[in-house]
Every structure is written in C-alpha cells, then in structure tokens.
Symmetry: C2
C-alpha cells in the first residue's frame, strides 16, 4: 500500500489557478479575500478532501492545537470521567489530547515531562503522581512559557491554575454524617502522605471530630496506597488493636470497598455495627452490598473546567491563574445506616 498523495494547498492553488497565499487566506477566512474566490477555494477543498498539514501549521504558527494530559492512571472511574470531560471541551475547540499515563511512578512522570515535545504542545493538564514531591520537571516546562493546569492531585509549588474538589468540606460532611448516625469511633484510612488531597480530606476529618469534641486516635489514622487491597490491609491493622473503631472514613471508594470486604470476612455487619463511607462515587459503590455511602466528586466537571482554563491560558497570554474548587455531594446509601444501639 503506497501512501497516496495527500492534497496540499499547492494542489488547490494549481487546480484553481490562484496562488498558494490566496488559498491559505481563503481557508482561514481572513478578511482580505473576495467572497467568490473564498467559496471556490472552500468548495475545492471539500471536493478533494483537503486536510491541512498540522505539522506545517504548527511550525509556522508555533502552535499545534494539541494539549498533553498527564495523569496517574485511567482505569479508575474518576480519571476516566475527568478525561471524558477534558475531551468534550477539547473537541469542541478543535484541540487534540495527547494522553500520557504515569502509572503512579514519579520516575516515569519525570521521564515523560522531560521528553515532552514542547513545540508540538500548546499546554498541559496534569494530575501528579502520588509520590511526586518535587515538581521541577513541570516547573521547567512552565518556565518555558507553556501553560499548565493542575487538577485533583496538585503540587503547591507552581503558581498556575488549579482545579480541585472541595476535599476538606467533603470529608467534613462525610464524617459528620457518620457522627450524626451514631458512630463516634471513626477511623480514617487514607492515601499516600504528602498529597494535597490526602491532606485536605484528613483535615476535614479532623475538623468534624473537633466540632463534636471527639478524641483523635493516631492509631485510627492509616496512610497507605489508593488501591482496594490497601483498604483490606488497613482494616486488618485496625482490628488488631484493642481500641477498635466502629466506623471508617476512606479516602476513596476502592479503599472503602476493600475495607468492606475485609469486614464482611469477619462477619461484622456493615451499616449496623460498623459504618463505612467512601469518597468519589465510583459506579462500583452503588453496586456493592451493602451499597456504599460516599461523597460524590464532580469528575466530569473537573475535566471540563480544567480544560477550559487551560484553553484560556493558551489564548490569552496573560491570563491570571485561577483556583477553582468544585463542590460534590454526599450520596447516602446503606453502609452508614444508623448505628445499632448497644443492647
């Protein structure tokens, strides 16, 4: 299969007996071209199925209509949904998204960032890896004048736009809900230490305990990975102690479900003896049994807002960075039913 000749503006120019400059202008609808030639050009372009060469355009305009999206994983519903949001906005504005997955590896994140062809990328949308403390690889790109918008997992060090959920408030509401349903011994199983969202949710947890004058037990606060298996492990650890909690607030649904599975193994009745609340509202949480109470994150909206902000940074050189905080809402299900009162 030989690559067939791809139509260029030269071809159009020859066919129409005009100069390439005119064709170029006609295609882009600049004002200094007569309506009549413009229409002829457009018609011919359609007829021959002309597709502009983005490489050439990028070379001359110094932009590419590409944005890079860098994130830890896409097999979590949250991130898949965020990407869908990004894609919607990008598509509407004729931007392509180039997808990079770090697999939660800070090392790979660095490698990807350092190899990023800045000349064919107009901007970056980034959610950092959980163990990515230093962000000089992004700072370097940022300093080259390439706009970056961070979402969800956000480094503090770079002064640019950021989009996040109201993690603090979400956690606060979730924990308050537990307390109001009669659970006062609340553990918090969370993600890797040092991530901003981990910190914010933790602070929300603390604030709720404080509001109701509940003691904070350090052994009830466990930092581990974001995965389901970690949730199970965390419960094992919690239940080894004499001082067992009767409720668990998990940093996300995967861990909450991991915790539930382990509790079920121990024949503990969830939503009666022990309550569990998650975060995110993955589809799974509606389907697990008992169904999981969780704080819903506006994933699609996070994606859309992030992309919109990025496009503004791209089009207006001096767009001032914005921090957007989006609200979610508590989805009450079975796993946090009112506590069975002690006999």
């Amino acid at each position: 299969m030989k690559r067939r000749h791809i139509i260029t503006i030269k071809d159009l120019a020859r066919e129409l007996q005009v100069s390439v400059a005119t064709v170029s202008r006609g295609l882009r609808n600049t004002h200094d071209v007569s309506k009549i030639t413009r229409n002829k050009i457009l018609a011919k372009a359609k007829e021959l199925n002309f597709r502009p060469n983005f490489n050439a355009m990028g070379l001359v305009n110094n932009k590419s209509h590409n944005i890079a999206v860098i994130l830890p994983t896409i097999t979590h519903y949250y991130f898949a949904e965020v990407i869908s949001g990004i894609q919607k906005v990008a598509y509407k504005n004729n931007f392509n998204i180039i997808l990079h997955i770090t697999g939660e590896s800070a090392e790979r994140e660095r490698a990807i960032a350092r190899q990023l062809p800045l000349s064919s990328i107009d901007g970056l949308l980034v959610s950092v890896t959980s163990d990515s403390q230093k962000c000089d690889h992004f700072l370097e790109i940022f300093n080259c004048g390439v706009p970056i918008v961070f979402f969800d997992r956000i480094p503090d060090s770079i002064n640019t736009s950021k989009v996040m959920q109201n993690d603090f408030e979400g956690a606060f509401i979730a924990v308050e809900h537990l307390i109001q349903n009669g659970y006062k011994k609340i553990a918090h199983i969370t993600g890797p230490y040092g991530l901003s969202l981990t910190r914010h949710r933790f602070e929300g947890y603390l604030a709720a305990l404080k509001k109701y004058n509940l003691a904070v037990w350090p052994e009830w606060i466990i930092y581990s990975e974001f995965e389901q298996a970690s949730g199970s492990e965390d419960v094992k650890q919690l239940w080894e102690s004499k001082n067992k909690p009767n409720a668990i607030f998990a940093v996300n649904d995967s861990k909450a479900i991991g915790a539930m599975l382990e509790l079920k193994k121990r024949n503990i009745e969830i939503g009666k003896d022990v309550a569990v609340v998650g975060f995110t509202n993955e589809p799974m949480s509606a389907v697990v049994s008992p169904s999981l109470t969780t704080f819903e994150e506006p994933a699609m909206e996070v994606g859309m807002r992030s992309c919109e902000l990025l496009l503004q940074h791209i089009s207006k050189k001096n767009f001032t960075p914005k921090e957007v905080i989006l609200n979610g809402k508590l989805i009450v299900r079975e796993s946090s039913k009112k506590r069975r009162t002690d006999p």
Copy 2:
C-alpha cells in the same frame, strides 16, 4: 509570561561552531559523524535542554510518531484497560497517542475521522461505535495509505489487521457452564444488533444450546444497549412473559449487573433460582453481591497486541494484515452456583 526562546539545532550549531547538518546528524546518531563531535553535540543538547521540534521533523519525514486511538468510551473498565495496554507499547516505542472518544455516536465518529489530520498521524487504532455500519470514513483514510488496526468492535469491510477476543468460544463456555450447573432455560441479553462481537457471542450461545439439544426461544434473545440500565429493562421484559428463563447470559458485565439488580428487586435468588453470567470481568463483577460469574477478556493484551501490530504496519510498508484472536477464561463466582433442584 512570555514564551521563552526554545532551543533549536541552529542554537546548538552556533554554540558549537558547526553546521546545523552536523548537529542534526549527531543528534540522530547517523554513522557519518565523529564520535567526538557527536558527544559534544549531545552534551550541549542536554545542557541547553534541547527538545526537537516534532512539527519540523514531521514535516520533513512525513511522519509524526503519533497514533490516533478512536473508541466509543473510556469510562468502561475494558476500554480503559485497553488504552493502558496501547499506551505501554506506544510509550516504549516513543509514540504518542492522541485520544478520540466517539461517545457511541456514529455521527461524531465520522466527524472525527474526516477531520483527522492525516499528516500528523502515523496510524490508527479503532474500535467502532455500535451503530456504525458503514465504515467508508475509515476506508477513505485507509486508502490514503494510513495503517489502521481494529480491535474489539470490528467492521468486516476493511482488509486490515484486527485484534479481538474469542467471543464465540467465550460465550460457548459461559453458556455451557450454565447448562452444566443445571440451568437449561437460558436467555441471552445482548448489545446492539450488527456488531461483530454481538454476533459472535450470540453464535457461541446458540452453539452451546445446540450441543445440549436445547430449544432456542426467540423471546429469550434481547438486543439492546450495552449499559447497565438496559440489563434491568431486559429482565423486566423477560419476566413479563409466561415462559420465563432461569438463567441469563449477558453480553457484558454492566448488563449482567443491571439484570441482577432487577432480579433482586423481585426477590429472586441469584445463583439458586436464576443464574447470571456476564462477560469482560470488570472489577465491579467481583464486588457485586452475589459475585458475578463472567468470562474474562484480556483487555490489556488486546491493547498491547493492537498497538504492536499497528507499529509493524507503520514500519513495514507491506506488512500483511493479521487477525489476532486472544483467549480469555471463565471466572466462576457465586451468581451461577448449581441450581436449586425443584422440590
């Protein structure tokens, strides 16, 4: 923030007092450049953090190191996993992936395909939308000499490489499993009519019934959408009839779970009175209660093999198309336990 000057080979050439051609050669490690200058060039490139301009390279070489991935959705675990597989292989080979999501809309699929900048894409990885019968938009691209590999959802009409699961066998095994566990009145709730995978799974279902001399009841075969809600609807429809099945083989896990939820509403005991088997092995299926028996699809492998094939098509102009069929395996869980024998 002014865009800082981005280093080009010209800059390197000036700094090193050599010609741009030499720098170009040095960077690409062609054989006709002395080790010593090469090292000097590489060192300087690193020092100044030179990043090649892919637009310029693409313009000259007529390739871009980009591949486009076009698929219906990414919020299903299967597709997210496929993309992860694609990404792994692409990354290792220094290809970027440009992600396009059709949202199950044939119209949008066409629009995306027609706007695809062929000059900045070396190849395509496609899973077609469920209602995309005519594929002339892909054929057109294919005829331009741009290689395409289809996966999972495959049109028959284009003679190129394809990667799929063994849908026929998977369905056969799943249905046979039901029969062997005592369920002989097996309904099949499936996806949109006309998709090859729908057809293959349906044929596997038929073959299993035939092997055990079971009658085929047309009212037990329902075509609808791939979503969970459709699964619930399908059960409603099935249970309206006098002639009710006692087992359901669903085209995917979402529908299987939708079916389960509806059965539970009707207080039908799943895995005793009625069995349910899904397809894909989404994480959800392990967590739903009762846990769902399902045929696991090798999603990651589908992604990796597809991408490998595409890269071969890209590098070897006359690579003959291959059809790869990957095997999955039945994951037996609770939803298909041996049937409660009639009293």
